[in-house]
Amino acid sequence: MRDVPEQIETRTDPVALPADPAVVRDALGVGVAVGLSGFAFGVTSAGAGLGLLQTCALSLLVFTGASQFALVGALAAGGNPFTAAAGAFFLGVRNAFYGLRLSGLLGLPRAVRPLAAHWVIDETSAVALAQPDRRTARLGFTVTGLTLYVLWNLTTLLGVLGASALGDTDAWGLDAAGPAVFLALLAPMLSGTVERAVAALGVLLVLLSQPVLPAGVPVLVAALAAPVVLTVRGRVSRTTEPGERR
């Protein structure tokens, strides 16, 4: 089994093997920055009419930011619970693909998997997948997951409590935190031509489908950018040698 994804093998980092303090520092950086944005979620959710318990339950049990924002947005817009949940679920489907990449890298024991699964999100995946070996990947995943989970839930609570005090949260620019987080996570992944083409097509697809498709679906349509670019790029990658299969 290959522990290290192809993308990382070809990356030319100035430091080949980061020391543990560097990994912890990166993980804390992501965990703290994103964890603090739970405040924006708490405020948004309270503004959408959800109660304190409901908002905190979302952060504790769903724990995937985009899905949480999508759900409260849909509920505020008057969507029925199943349509609202479907949109949030579609957004959460991407976590399955993160898990697909992480499972080989982290090599988690079967008993730990159900616990670790709850922390499989954009940020923990980005930090773990940026590490060159299993040990630092596990360290990065754990530190990011723990920091983010604690802070995200704490700041969600504070956000609900502070919502009334803050007034119009958009005036504070808090609605720009989400896209900035996604952009910061995306930037290091844009190392090659294929990655950039996929990102560009993803943006195009989501912007084209946003006005015509129900909430949650445009992002899934954008996911098609990956297979489309791979297909267009050539059939070389599709013709695998028969002997390579197990």
Binding site: L36, D175, L190, P218, V219, L230
Partner: protein
Amino acid sequence: MITWIAIGVTAVGCYLVKLLGLSVPAGVLERPLVRRLAALLPVALLAALTAQQTFGDGPHLVLDARAAGLGAAALALVLRAPFLVVVAVAVAVTAGVRAL
């Protein structure tokens, strides 16, 4: 009650897809096409989410202060600013443009 149903369905659904990803047999991962696809899907999704949350307003597309904030964030990224600074710059510039 309706809200609690939505929360419950979302929580269960989102947890199960996370667990599913981690539980897929290792053999599946070793197929080159699947590996490449799994590496590229987050790129497509993160790019889409960035664009959607910058230009989306419900079903509509708008160009507002968030675009300025994201531009500033992109600049901060090019200048290799730390994660927290990138997010803070986006929030501050967006708030600043709205205050104008």
